[in-house]
């Protein structure tokens, strides 16, 4: 149980700056998700914390004491690898017991066996102790990798896209279970993913990364409803983004104008006169309203229709319960104002 702090972390590989000055902290028992497109440097952050890469600059502390100069085996930081990295020549039990046998805090065979049994129970694999990794399904491998990392009771647990190799249905099931296990054990965790849904479900907080920098760190709901940057707004979920003029701003309320229509919306930061109006497709209410949209296309998605339209040359996306053709009037129930860049 520990608190992790990362300050001003920088890492370059040759000419490529992978991590460009990142700072964040994770509280005891908290799950922080690092979310970003592939190649944004999130795995590098994780490897720096684990000690598998040496950062060019920056500080990493656990409970206030620096670990930057320690080799990985002395950091007490667990890592669940993307492809699990299960040792192919050892059984499931051998894999889980590895750290207890060869690691820093070795324990007797009897204690080891008890610990392995407990962990197998935790991840729902009792009875699989003697299997070899190649005899397991992908989902089972994932559970073993988690149990192996938890066995040494790391202060911090890092997870590098642990569900990305699984098929969709299993991924949904396992992420719920993963959150249950991490919360049950109160493990401070950093979870890397490029899957936004996974990030929203799993994270206590989500940090969105882009090209080696952090764009925004917030609770999932905050991130989804009040993105601070255009990148976050576009990367997370679907969004309508309309250029607009700011009429006036009072703290977190703003009045903006689109064409001839004035509209009230929320705002977070001080804004200049040119702004972007951000609203989710589900915030569009069909019926009466100041806006008139021309419908271009409607796609059937099973539980709803995804409707693409245009309002004075601006693209519009909205969801409907039935097919819509021609044109429609609508109003924007709720919106958020972002700076233009």
């Amino acid at each position: 149980m520990a608190r992790l702090e990362v300050q001003n972390l920088r890492k370059r590989f040759g000419p490529v700056v992978a991590v460009d000055g990142i700072s964040f902290s994770v509280d005891t028992g908290e799950i922080l998700v690092l979310l970003g497109p592939s190649g944004c440097g999130k795995t590098t952050v994780l490897r720096c914390v684990a000690g598998l890469e040496r950062p060019d600059q920056g500080e990493i502390r656990i409970d206030g004491s620096s670990i930057v100069h320690l080799p990985p085996e002395r950091r007490n930081v667990g890592l669940v690898f993307q492809n699990y990295a299960l040792f192919p020549h050892l059984t499931v039990a051998g894999n889980i017991a590895y750290g207890l046998r060869h690691g820093r805090h070795r324990i007797s065979r009897r204690e080891r066996n008890a610990k392995v049994a407990e962990l197998l129970e935790l991840v729902g694999l009792s009875g699989y102790a003697r299997r070899k990794p190649h005899e397991l399904s992908e989902g089972q491998k994932q559970r073993v990798a988690l149990a192996r990392a938890l066995a040494v009771e790391p202060k911090i647990l890092l997870l590098d896209e642990p569900l990305s190799a699984l098929d969709a249905a299993l991924r949904v099931e396992l992420r719920r279970e993963l959150r249950r296990i991490l919360k049950e054990r109160g493990t401070t965790s950093v979870y890397v993913t490029h899957d936004q849904e996974e990030a929203l479900v799993l994270g206590d907080r989500v940090a969105v990364m882009r090209e080696g920098r952090l764009e925004q760190v917030d609770r999932p709901q905050e991130l989804y409803e009040r993105p601070k940057t255009l990148f976050v707004a576009q990367f997370l979920g679907r969004a309508n983004l309309w250029p607009a003029q700011l009429v006036r701003q009072e703290q977190d309320k703003a009045l903006v104008r689109i064409d001839e229509t004035e509209l009230e919306a929320e705002a977070a930061s001080p804004l200049s006169s040119e702004v972007v109006l951000f609203f989710r497709p589900e915030w569009v209410e069909i019926g009466d309203g100041p806006f008139l949209a021309e419908i271009k296309e409607a796609q059937y998605l099973g539980n709803r229709w995804e409707v693409h339209g245009q309002v004075q040359g601006r693209p519009l996306l909205l969801y409907a319960h039935e097919k819509i053709e021609g044109s429609l009037r609508f109003r924007i129930k709720r919106a958020f104002v972002l700076p233009q860049s």
């Binding site: 080799p71 085996e73 020549h89 060869h102 040494v152």
Partner: protein, 554 residues
């Protein structure tokens, strides 16, 4: 991180050893060729190059290597084709068999050729009996053709393996695409399959040419002085005429030629891009299933005679050649385990077996140590120059290496070692590159995340090596060790260069028995070597190339 440091630790041992036992001795040999009485001189080189006998040596060596390559291709290409295209009972066995010549001692092949193709050999005897002839119809021995045929015996399987590997890496949908586009089958073969096989054929040809160019035991025992190769020539100068300067000069010329060939080989394979892609399960035909397959059957029969005849003759001879006028039973085997001094080989037969075992055991340990540390170094420090230095013994022929060590063991520091260590060092230097070739790709194929995972679980670098990499490499090390052992037991070139007094190994004993026409004892000893070869190949197949690579892909 600290990986470069680890690489330097790995590289340190082999660098030190190579300097002492390889580079300095080799440099001294070359100096011997170009220095006289403390002055630089080209006299030896000029004498060597203008000597008509030496010119004959080179042209003959090149001619026989060229012909041997052609015949190897003619025999090996169909075998590769057959393995790639057909399925039949015993296919795995046949595939394993193509590996055998790599480890089969050349002296047993030479002996087999005597016994099978000789004027009174099994083949001629059989042909005379069948056709009622008085004279032996095939007069092969003591000719260029005996050497070429023996080399083809050796190297056809090289072609077969290369062609088979290349063929199975061709996507079968390419030929299907040809069929869909309307090309008849032979056109699909000539326009798609054959061009894709060419890089492999070229690589195999270059390799086989170099191997035949540097062949020693076969021309020595089947050709004699008249059909000597460069390798035999150096041996004759050094060990028969005791003219070390000339031997050294000839060795210098030879190494330049082989380096040029090797350069051509490397450039060529780069140019032709012999990338080993993923293997595809090509659709195979059941064999035999069509009338046309009769042709294959005939070809198989001829191959079986050429390949199995000589080896079977050796074993048959060891059990049938009369001993003291009576059928021998196991008599020849009892004779080769005799502790009594034998005038033909200059040592007791048992003594030579023990010497061989000792040399093989020690040189295998040396080869494994060097091979592992070189693999470890090259895995981390990816430097072409370092690789060239660490693998340099590959570029030197066995006779030149033998000559270097022969001279080095006359002076300190190496003269402090017992004489048999000269052969131990020679074999260690000759066979560790094989260890590297077997171990390194598997080591490099190990997922780096395994070691990383071990370290995040609290194991230090050394412990991670012992608990992960060593167990995962153990099969490869076992295979490499078995091969190194078998190669050392069968190696004759360096053994002949370095033999002195009691230092007589099994192949040398066989050669001396053979020269004295004491076939029974030679056959029994050769049969022992064949048995060891089969065991080494069996270990390879048993552990399986596939299971060796399985961890790399897990």
């Amino acid at each position: 991180m600290a990986r470069r440091g680890a690489g330097l630790v790995w590289a340190g041992l082999p660098l030190f050893f190579l300097a002492l036992a390889f580079f300095i001795p080799l440099a001294n040999v070359f100096l011997l060729g170009v220095r006289e009485n403390g002055r630089w001189t080209a006299a030896n080189l000029r004498a060597v190059l203008s000597d008509p006998y030496v010119r004959h040596l080179f042209s003959f060596t090149a001619l026989q290597a060229f012909l041997s390559t052609l015949l190897s291709f003619a025999l090996g290409f169909p075998l590769g084709w057959f393995l790639a295209r057909y399925r039949f009972p015993g296919k795995g066995f046949l595939r394993a068999f193509t590996l055998a010549p790599f480890v089969l001692p050349p002296i047993t092949v030479a002996l087999g050729f005597f016994l099978f193709f000789g004027n009174t050999g099994y083949l001629n005897t059989a042909l005379r009996a069948v056709f009622g002839l008085r004279e032996p119809p095939l007069r092969l021995l003591y000719s260029l053709w005996a050497i070429v045929l023996a080399h083809a015996f050796y190297n056809a399987p090289v072609f077969a393996r290369f062609v088979h590997a290349a063929w199975t890496s061709i996507d079968p949908t390419l030929e299907e695409a040809c069929a869909v586009l309307g090309a008849p089958r032979f056109r699909a073969f000539s326009t798609v399959t054959l061009p894709l096989l060419l890089p492999a054929i070229f690589s195999a040809a270059a390799l086989v040419f170099v191997l035949c160019f540097l062949s020693f035991a076969i021309p020595l025992s089947l050709g004699g002085a008249r059909y000597a190769t460069v390798e035999v020539g150096i041996y004759l100068y050094a060990r028969v005429y005791l003219d070390f300067s000339r031997a050294a000069a000839l060795g210098l010329v030879q190494i330049l030629v082989t380096l040029a060939l090797a350069y051509f080989y490397v450039q060529g394979s780069g140019f032709f891009g012999s990338r080993q892609g993923r293997t595809h399960p090509i659709p195979t035909l059941a064999f035999p299933s069509r009338p046309a397959h009769l042709l294959w059957l005939v070809w198989l029969l001829v191959s079986a005679v050429i390949f199995l005849g000589p080896m079977a003759s050796v074993v048959a001879d060891s059990f049938s050649r009369p001993l003291g006028g009576k059928p021998p039973g196991f008599g020849w085997y009892r004779a080769i385990f005799s502790p009594e001094q034998n005038p033909f080989i200059g040592i007791s037969p048992l003594g030579s077996i023990l010497v061989s075992l000792e040399v093989a055991g020690l040189s295998t340990l040396l080869a494994l140590t060097l091979g592992l540390s070189v693999s470890g170094a090259l895995r981390v420090l990816r430097s072409r120059a370092l690789e060239a230095v660490l693998m340099a013994p590959m570029a030197v022929s066995s006779v030149v290496l033998g000559l270097a060590l022969l001279l080095a063991f006359r002076k300190p520091p190496l003269s402090a070692l017992p004489e048999k260590f000269s052969l131990v060092l020679a074999h260690g230097l000759m066979f560790y590159p094989f260890v590297v070739r077997i171990v390194r790709p598997i080591w490099e194929g190990l997922t780096p995340a395994w070691v990383e995972a071990a370290r995040t679980l609290g194991a230090g670098r050394a412990r991670a090596f012992l608990t992960l990499e060593m167990p995962l490499l153990s099969q490869a090390i076992l295979v490499a060790g078995a091969f190194s052992l078998a190669l050392s037991l069968g190696e004759m070139t360096a053994a002949a260069m370095l033999s002195r007094g009691e230092l007589v190994t099994i192949p040398l004993a066989i050669y001396r028995f053979l020269s004295a026409r004491r076939f029974g004892a030679a056959s029994a000893m050769a049969s022992l070597l064949i048995l060891i070869t089969v065991a080494a190949v069996a270990i390879w197949e048993w552990l399986g190339e596939r299971s060796l690579r399985a961890y790399g892909q897990a």
